[in-house]
Amino acid sequence: MRINEPDCPKRNISLTPLIDIVFLLLVFFMLSTTFLKFGTVKLDAASSGDGVADPAKIVLVHIDGERRYKVSGVRIKNAELIEAVNRLVDAGARDAVIVVRDEAAVDDLVNAVRLLRQSRASSVRIVE
């Protein structure tokens, strides 16, 4: 028996529409992806009148901007913030209160809150 070969010629599939879509997806992902690692820092500023801390047991931390801090009025370096607060906690203090000055930026505030949470102070509050 003789079988006829099918006589449809092999045609090249045009890749142009495919590459259009692939380029579109590529551009979308290039613009919308990020390689940064994100985190969050909880920032709950105690509004006034919300459970006043015992004034005898607070540690005052002033934020002056550019990561310069004062703990109980004494200027300290960024790296020593936790130690300085811990020393005062050992001496009987309990709550840390952050006082935000006019020059302070979000970066300073977030950094201070994060460092104070690592210290042994039992709560961190923010006042203006």
Partner: protein, 136 residues
């Protein structure tokens, strides 16, 4: 007179296969290695923290720019309207957490002001999105 028939030489289509190989490779790299940005603004510089803070990133639609402007859901909203806009969008019965994308250079007092405005029924814990430094 004898006219010459115009010579039509069909240009062969360039072979796109190798190009598409590379483009697919780059596409798959971006899909696998990257994550979608949680916010769309491109001029935001986030506060940098050491790699220890809680690493959840949720899509955030409240953006506080360095100059104090506030963008909510893609449009600039004056501070007076912000509180009503946010509470209108939230179901008042549940206190859902809110993540603010705040520029690191923004004045901290301005951020506190924005937080005071936003706080209300339906808004739970407020946190600030940060960029975690890579561990060396």
């Amino acid at each position: 007179m004898k006219l010459k028939a115009p010579v039509t030489t069909r240009r062969p289509e360039p072979d796109l296969t190798s190009l598409i190989n590379i483009v697919f490779l780059i596409l798959i790299f971006f899909i696998v290695a990257g994550t979608l940005r949680p916010f769309s603004a491109r001029d935001i510089q986030l506060a940098r923290t050491q790699p220890d803070s809680a690493g959840v990133s949720v899509p955030a639609n409240l953006i506080a720019h360095a100059d104090g402007r506030v963008t909510y859901r893609g449009e600039i909203v004056p501070l007076e309207e912000l509180g009503t806009r946010v509470s209108r969008d939230r179901n008042n019965t549940e206190r859902a957490p809110l993540t603010i994308v705040a520029d690191a250079r923004l004045n901290a007092k301005r951020l506190l002001e924005i937080m005071r405005t936003v706080r209300g029924p339906g808004v739970g814990e407020i946190s600030i999105l940060t960029e975690q430094l890579r561990e060396k």
